[in-house]
Amino acid sequence: MDLSKAPNPRKLQLCRTYFLTGFAFLPFVWAINVCWFFAEAFRKPTYPEQSQIKRYVIYSAIGTLFWTIALITWIVIFQTNRAAWGATADYISFIIPLGSA
């Protein structure tokens, strides 16, 4: 969708929908929201809906950051301890590597 052709209320509605969708454990939707509406929120000349869009973009960015940190932490913990955890690690794995612990 070409954002430049959408009217301002439609942009706000889109941004809000994306923000709310992200709560369904979908941090990537927040990340897309940030990328997509960043220019609308901070670069475009002001228009009435912009302040709300700005808020949603900032919140989405915070959510994305939180998820990124949480995921990286978990991945590092899991990957470094997977072999040591033994059976537990196997039960929470979807793909088990071949030929190694």
């Binding site: 059976a87 196997d90 039960y91 979807f94 793909i95 088990i96 071949l98 030929g99 612990a101």
Partner: protein, 710 residues
């Protein structure tokens, strides 16, 4: 006219092109040359992984021929262009050398090739000094068996053992038996590698790539858990338990009218008495599909077969014996090389009244039914055999006296002396599984003083037992006269087996009938000749043919594989042994026509002449899968039962090629990157100056004319 000539010329040219001039060889085939050999693979037990594995995409190493130990020093101290793949002859394939290569790590040594040049080899055994060290008879909750002392190597059951079969290697080991393949490797090494070592890093070198990636890791517990894991959507198998079949047969057919009902509880018949005569069916080696185990286990299987055959021909009907409820049970246990899989399962089955299986419609056998067990261990040197027992018993005394009476008898001239050995120094044979359950179990073990320098290795072959096929074309189904020595030398393998088997069979004859054996007939050395030909040279042999259905497809012209393998493996040796014991122990039923001879126990054999004959058989299989895989929540570290599994793999392959030098590789990569960047710049320039090239063409992003409204 000119037109026609022209077209004819074109056709001719095309024809020539397609037939003679065009050489369609794939680039891949020009680069690589396959090497045929056998690979080492990974096995796992309750606590460890053993064997070898390549990296996922195949391990690559530069060929380096090792002639003396100093060549190895060169690779380990200052390798100019690692990783290397040493080509090692068997006499340098020692524990010390292999552990040094392992220590150097896969960055220095990535592949090891064992080449079949046994000239300087004096010994070669990869088994432990104490085979089955962690199973067998144990005392006071110790993890190691009490029957073998590792600290006193000279007194162990395999003093020449290196234990390499139980090591874990970070590189693949590939065995190349064929002389042509070895020459291929050597000439490639000489041509490209074996000069000016200093410049190795700067030039192309002959290298080998070995693919033998193993899926399983850590231990049996981990890989079985992963294999059985419910989330395992891919359905990938990591490992399989070692699994095979024990073969058993009784001397007399058993009558079990009380157990014909399928659902009724099974009752033991307390009157039945069995003498178990047993041996080992399997062998093993480090490399897939190789290892005949000629001396380490085939000799005992041959002896068991001959004893069975001789007793079957000598003994009168069961009802005329002093004790008409007595019978002899011959069992060949499978998987004994891997912590007594077969005998552990056999004992477990007897404990659970599950032997023979319900489907045989026969009465189960309990330990109370077993009178004693005579286990035939390794017979490396038949002049030096001992009868091992845990404690001195009158039973052992009597049997030894009977054995020696025939062994020393001038009448038969066997000239064998069997000594008694009482105590915990017991050889690693199946009887240990029985003794482990109950040390009072009447187990007697015939075992020679260890003399096999190639125990559990690829070199335990027909040369190791000095077997030469006599191919006499004589009748092997009858017993021979004691004075019949025309075909084989006194110290030939055939005569050795004839002598030992005759002694054992005569002693058992006396035990069963209560009378001394007075006959002139002894076991047939011709049967021994045929037996070894089948098991050591070719399954397409007269003896196997006679014991199959008439005109059934012949066996492969290769000896049957005797490694236990896994479920779905070839199970060749158990199948052949089953038919062979069936044939040799059965009674002819000349009045049953072929049509009515299709249901066991009746079986239609091709027979000696291949004409076909109906016989009443007594043989059957039992499962040789360790109880560890049957018991729910089995403690894998308990050491109670065998836990051996074999990793799965997708392929074994090896090929040689010219590996470019590092400099060459870096140059190629750099040129590639440069071309990549230049192409980007070029496209950018062309794109930004498109008008120069395409003057009249409208821009692609120009609005298209609107569709015509209808």
């Amino acid at each position: 006219m000119a037109q026609e000539v022209k077209s004819a010329a074109i056709w001719l040219l095309l024809l020539l092109q397609s037939s003679a001039i065009v050489i369609s060889e794939r680039t891949r085939d020009k680069i690589y040359q396959p090497i045929i050999g056998a690979s080492c693979f990974r096995r796992l037990n309750g606590t460890h992984q053993t064997g070898c594995s390549s990296t996922y995409s195949g391990s690559v190493g530069v060929l380096h021929l090792i002639n003396v130990e100093a060549d190895l020093e060169f690779l380990l101290s200052s390798p100019p262009s690692p990783p290397y793949a040493p080509l090692i002859p068997p006499h340098l394939f020692t524990r010390t050398n292999l552990l040094r290569l392992k220590e150097a790590g896969p960055r220095i040594i990535s592949v090891v090739l064992l080449i079949n040049r046994p000239k300087k080899m004096n010994q070669f055994s990869h088994e432990l000094n104490c085979p089955n060290q962690y199973s067998g008879l144990k005392l006071d909750n110790r993890t190691e068996t009490v029957t073998c002392d590792v600290t006193n190597v000279g007194n162990t059951w395999n003093p020449w053992g290196t234990g390499l079969l139980h090591e874990d290697f970070p590189f693949p080991i590939y065995y190349i038996a064929d002389a042509e393949e070895i020459d291929k490797l050597e000439s490639c090494f000489e041509k490209f590698n074996n000069f000016d070592y200093a410049s190795h890093a700067l030039r192309s070198l002959c290298a080998v790539e070995v693919k033998s990636f193993m899926s399983a890791a850590v231990n049996s517990e981990v890989c079985m858990r992963r294999t059985n894991f419910i989330n395992n959507l891919g359905g990938s198998k990591y490992c399989d338990p070692l699994e095979g079949r024990n073969v058993y047969a009784t001397l007399y057919p058993r009558n079990s009218p009380e157990n014909l009902e399928a659902n009724a509880a099974r009752r033991v018949n307390a009157n039945e008495k069995f003498i178990i005569v047993s041996c080992r069916l399997d062998t093993t080696s480090m490399f897939d599909g190789l290892g005949l185990g000629a001396m380490d286990s085939l000799l005992s299987l041959a002896t068991l077969t001959h004893v069975a055959h001789m007793l079957r021909l000598l003994l009168p009907t069961q009802s005329t014996l002093p004790d008409p409820k007595r019978n002899v049970l011959f069992v060949a246990f499978n998987g004994e090389s891997y912590d007594y899989i077969g005998s552990q399962r056999f004992v477990y089955d007897i404990e659970h009244l599950a032997f023979p299986t319900r489907s045989t419609h026969s009465t189960p056998i309990s330990f109370e039914n077993i009178e004693f067990m005579l286990d035939i261990g390794t017979l490396d040197d038949i002049r030096n055999i001992k009868l091992h027992t845990l404690t001195a018993t009158p039973l052992a005394q009597q049997l030894l006296q009977k054995l020696n009476q025939y062994a020393k008898s001038p009448r038969y001239g066997f000239n064998v002396n069997i000594e008694s050995n009482v105590g915990y120094q017991i050889p690693p044979t199946s009887a240990q599984s029985f003794l482990r359950r109950e040390t009072k179990f009447p187990a007697l073990i015939l075992n020679a003083v260890p003399g096999n320098k190639y125990y559990h290795s690829v070199y335990d072959d027909l040369d190791n037992v000095a077997f030469i096929y006599g191919n006499t074309s004589e009748d092997y189904t009858i017993l021979a006269d004691i004075n019949d020595k025309k075909y084989f030398d006194a110290d030939s393998l055939q005569m050795k087996v004839r002598n030992v088997s005759s002694i054992v069979a005569m002693a058992l004859y006396e035990t069963l009938t209560g009378k001394q054996y007075q006959g002139n007939e002894v076991a047939s050395s011709i049967l021994a000749d045929e037996f070894f030909y089948c098991y050591l040279q070719s399954s397409d042999c007269p003896l196997f043919k006679a014991s199959s259905y008439p005109n059934s497809p012949a066996g492969l012209p290769l000896p049957p594989m005797r490694y236990i393998s896994v479920l779905g493996g070839s199970q060749e040796s158990s199948g052949w042994t089953y038919r062979l014991l069936g044939f040799l122990l059965s009674h002819p039923e000349p009045n049953v026509p072929k049509e009515n001879c299709s249901q066991l126990p009746l079986f239609y054999f091709a027979g000696l002449n291949g004409t076909g004959e109906c016989r009443r058989t007594t043989q059957n299989f039992t499962s040789a899968l360790s109880p560890a895989f049957l018991i729910e929540d089995y403690d894998w570290r308990s050491g109670q039962y065998s836990t051996w599994t074999e990793s799965t793999w997708s392929q074994f392959s090896a090929r040689i090629f010219l590996r470019p030098s590092n400099v060459h590789e870096i140059t190629t990569l750099s040129i590639g990157i440069v071309v990549f960047i230049i192409s980007f710049c070029l496209i950018y320039i062309i794109s930004s100056r498109w008008e120069v090239l395409f003057e009249d063409v409208p821009a692609s992003n120009a609005a298209l004319p609107p569709p015509t409204a209808c």
